[in-house]
Every structure is written in C-alpha cells, then in structure tokens.
C-alpha cells in the first residue's frame, strides 16, 4: 500500500440494462498526481466519474478514498470527504452572482458568512475571476463558466478534484489559461483527475494516463507510453493525435 495513495478504484463495473458502461475498471491515484482518463466517445469516462462521485450506483467493485470505502455513498457525503467535481456542461447557479456561487461551495467547510466570503474571495483571486465577482453567473462566457465551476469546487477545499472536460470548446488562449490554472491547483497540493479530449492538455498535464474503450480499461501508463502504444494510436486516438502532434 502506497502511503500517499489517495483514490483506489477496484474492479468498478456499471451496467445500464444489458449495456456495459464500465466493466471491471481498476486504477489508483496517488496524492499530488494529475491523472487523465481518455478514450473515444461512449467509452464510459463520464459514467466512471459518476460512479466515483456517487451519482451512479456501482454494480460491482469498490472505491476507496484515503483508505475509506466510499462505494455508493451519497454524492454530498463524498463531497464532504474531500472530493470535488465539475460537469461536462458547466453547471453553475444561474440566479446568483459569481461570488455567491463560490460562497455556496465555501459553506462546506465554514459556517459564518464572513469567513465564507473571505474564502470565496481568496479562491476568486486565485482563479482570476475576482473582477467578475458581481456578475450574474448566467452572463459568463463558456470559458468563465468553467473557471467558475473550478472555483466553486476549490471553495470546498477538496483533496481530490475531478474535472469533466473542462477544456472542451475553449479557444487556444483560454485553453492555455485553463492548463495554467490546473497546474496552479496542483501546486496547492490538490490531486486532480481529468477526463479530456484535448490531447495537447493531456500530454502537458498528466503524470499518468488511463485509456478506456467500450467500458474497459485497455492501457495505462505515462503520457509518453500511452501515446507510443500502437494499439491505442491505431484503434482509439488515430487521427486526433496526429492532428494535435504532427
């Protein structure tokens, strides 16, 4: 057992009717790592996210967080234990300001409104949204919404942050910003799991990559190893990889 082992997924399986969304997936994440989960559409990445964070019930397998069994716990309990996540399509509270959104996350660890506000302002300064603190969340651009979602997650003071396609649909400039932000988050000692399509980001960020296809884990390794894996290239990444790294 690795002393810094943070998340340990053991044989996770999830079925929808007859469909195997996740089949016997195991992997581990150590503290301070950035892990990427990649794979074609429908490979079961989001399902896996949902299983780990308690939104779906696992049919088989276990999930351990810091050695504690969190299999099929309620999402809010898992959040309280230190796991924060974002959604594929950014989900913010639309009739609140940016600051209020972040404060909502902050209430997980603080009770007094004043403390929460300080925390939220600190987070916004960190994520670079401070200037837009009084904007209505609804009015933000896609990129800022994603940033806000990360801010809300950070306000929860998590140990593990799970980002579901936080870089999809961003312009190159916005993409750089997001990558930098993720680096900064890691520097704070927060472990990160990303589900990502943008290979440039995956290559640059990841310490470790796992590849899913049809609900199964087919390969895992360092980004370089995975990219070099012929099977992966041929079957699952194909031209997308070529496009990003000519």
């Amino acid at each position: 057992m690795n002393a810094s082992l943070l998340l340990d997924v053991q044989g996770a399986s999830k079925y929808f009717g007859g469909l195997q969304a996740n089949e016997d997936i195991s992997f581990q994440v150590s503290g301070g790592q950035i892990l990427s989960i990649i794979g074609p559409n429908g490979a079961g990445k989001s399902t896996l996210f949902n299983c780990i964070t308690g939104f779906y019930r696992l049919d088989k397998g276990r999930v351990l967080f810091k050695g504690l069994d969190i299999t099929n716990r309620k999402p809010h309990t898992i959040g309280k234990l230190g796991v924060a996540r974002t959604f594929q399509i950014a989900q913010v509270i639309s009739d609140m300001t940016v600051l209020e959104n972040v404060m909502t996350g902050g209430f997980l660890r603080h009770v007094r409104v004043g403390d929460v506000r300080l925390k939220a302002e600190e987070v916004l300064a960190f994520t670079g949204l401070m200037a837009k603190g009084n904007y209505n969340a609804q009015a933000l651009s896609v990129s800022d919404k994603k940033r806000l979602e990360v801010s809300m997650a950070l306000a929860m003071e998590p140990e593990l942050l799970m980002l579901d396609e936080s870089m999809a649909g961003l312009t190159p400039v916005e993409l750089r910003g997001m990558i930098e932000l993720i680096h900064k988050v890691r520097e704070r000692g927060i472990t990160i799991i990303v589900v990502e399509h943008v290979m440039e980001a995956v290559m640059e960020l990841s310490d470790w990559v796992i590849v899913l296809n049809s609900g199964r884990k087919i390969v895992e390794g360092s980004p370089k190893e995975v990219v070099a894996d012929r099977e992966v290239i041929r079957a699952y990444l194909g031209d997308r990889y070529d496009a990003v790294c000519p």
């Binding site: 809010h76 959604f87 989900q91 997980l108 009084n134």
Partner: protein
C-alpha cells in the same frame, strides 16, 4: 444587498411607522383588508422560502394553514389551551406533517412537486372533512372569550389583530432574511438550480429540502392559527381549499419570488385589489371583480414574470 445601511433603516422604519399608524385612521373594513393582506403576506413569505428560494413550487400550503388553524382551535376548545401555545403546537405539527410528506417527495421537482403538493393538501382536507373529533364538515366555531392578549381574543376592536399579524409578518421576514443570507439560503438556491449541482457542492439535498418545507410549514401554520382566532369559524371548505394555496402562490409570484420583500408587495397589491373590487363591484353579481383579477394575474405573469418587486430588484441589480 447584504448589509442594511443607515438610510435603509430610516426608510424601513418610516414604512413600519406608516403601517403602525395607518390602521388607527381607517374604518374596520380597511383594517380587515390590512389584516387579510398581512395574513397572505406572511403565507407568501413562508411560501417563498420553499418555493422562491428552494424551487419547490408548492400548491398545497392550505394544508399547513389549515393544520395551524385546527390545532390551536382544537386545543383551545377541548383542553382550554391558550391559542399562543396552540400557535407553537400547530407550527410543530405542521412541520412534522411537512417532513412526513416532504421525505417521500424528495425526488419530485417542478410540476411533479406542484401536483404532489396539491394531492397532499386535498388528502388532508378530505381527512379533516370526515374527522368527527374536529367537527368534520361542520367545522369549528371558536367561542368568543374574554378579551385579552393572553386569550388572543379582541372583540371590541380590530387594532390588536392588526398589530399581532404585523408582528408575525415581521417575524416571518426576519426568518426569511436570516435564512436567505445564511448557509441555508445559499444551499436552497443551489437546490433550486439543480439537485446535481447542490450535491456536488456537498449539500444534503433531501435534508435541506426538508428544512425549507418545515420552516415554510411552520410560518404558514402560524398564519393559520391567527386566521382561526380572527375569523372564529373554520371549516375545511374555507381554510384547506386549493383556492388558499393558489392565492398564496399568486401573492409570492406576483410580488416577486426569490426576494425577501416580494411577497409582501404582492399581497399589498393583490389582496386589497380583490377585496375592494368585490366590495365595490361584487354586489352587482356580474363577477366583474373576478374578471379583472384574472386579467391582472395573466398580465403580470406576461409582462412582469419576475413579479412587480422582483422586476424592480432586477433593475437595481443591473444598475450596480
């Protein structure tokens, strides 16, 4: 919006002073309208906590209103318990009922919740309508007792009723403000946005929804107790009907859900309008007052969908 400024305090105090002095100057029917307005303002504020903030559009508030009215009246008539104690007892009972129905409904949202709340309130009404111990369909006639604050009874003047319900409304507003500016209020709004978002943020959705329903039920029940002590006659057909629930939603919506003061403004528009149009036009039997009422509701929903007060609040927010 968070901190009350000195200026606000002064103006707020002025409004309050008007509310305190005004009942002294107007005839009893006017006082009645003030009282009725404040009863529905209170219910609207209570509805707002679960509907406006937590997004549970309840069309069944009449059940809590009725339970409040019945609990205090029953305790008073059977065990001679002071209505003031009945007020609290009714509130607690309503909250428990709210929890009992809120729990199984914890997955229901939007229209499904609305219809489930109607179903719940109708079941409660039918149950009371057949329950011999509380007078069944005949209802309860609360005996006129010695006039005193302790007895919650005033025969010679309506003024004490005015001030009591005014105090109730202030209490409800204080609760609402406290809730809306605290952790609970933030969590309610997260739940309103989406259960998933709230859960991710570590919100125990089921529990916080129950909090919202229970607080709302308690306040609504207080208004119900007041109604019983004021009108002195209750039956399921007058305190537990859908019309009351709808009136409460209208007050909150037309004033502006999701704002602390919205329901009060809504009640201040809707109730005097319906009372005076009935008093002035109703005797002709043409139903003209109700036609106006229908048109008004439609028009406000169309042109001020955030409510009269909500629209103003929205303007202010944008200007900031």
């Amino acid at each position: 919006m968070r901190n009350i400024t000195g200026k606000q305090l002064i103006v707020g105090g002025a409004v309050l002073a008007v509310l305190i002095i005004l009942p002294l100057l107007i005839p009893p029917f006017g006082q009645h309208v003030v009282i009725l307005t404040l009863i529905f303002a209170m219910c609207g504020v209570a509805w707002n906590i679960m509907g406006g903030y937590a997004g549970m559009f309840s069309f069944g508030q009449a059940a809590f209103f009725g339970i409040g009215a019945y609990t205090s009246s029953f305790l008073l008539m059977t065990f001679n318990v002071s209505p003031w104690i009945g007020l609290v007892a009714g509130g607690i009972l309503s909250s428990l009922m709210a929890a009992a129905i809120g729990y199984p409904c914890s997955k229901l949202r939007g229209h499904y919740f609305a219809i489930a709340s109607i179903a719940f309130a109708e079941i409660v009404r039918i149950f009371f309508n057949n329950w011999e111990m509380v007078g069944a369909a005949e209802g309860l006639t609360i005996p006129m007792r010695q006039e005193s604050l302790a007895n919650f009874t005033f025969n010679s003047s309506k003024l004490p009723y005015c001030y009591i319900i005014l105090a109730f409304v202030l209490f409800a507003l204080a609760v609402c403000r406290l809730v809306s500016t605290s952790k609970m209020g933030y969590y309610f709004r997260a739940i309103k946005e989406s259960h998933e978002v709230a859960q991710v943020l570590g919100v125990n959705v089921v529990r916080y929804r129950l909090y919202a329903i229970m607080i709302s039920a308690f306040l609504t029940s207080m208004a119900g107790t007041f109604y019983a002590q004021y009108i002195l006659y209750i039956d399921p057909a007058s305190v537990m009907v859908l019309a009351i629930s709808v009136q409460i939603v209208l007050v909150a919506m037309l004033g502006g859900a999701n704002t602390v003061l919205g329901p009060v403004v809504g009640a201040a528009i809707l109730i005097p309008l319906s009372e005076y149009s009935r008093a002035w036009l109703g005797y002709k039997g043409t139903g003209f007052d109700m036609i106006i009422y229908g048109v008004l509701i439609t028009a406000i929903s169309m042109y001020r969908p955030n409510g009269v007060w909500g629209a103003l609040a929205g303007v202010v927010r944008r200007e900031k």
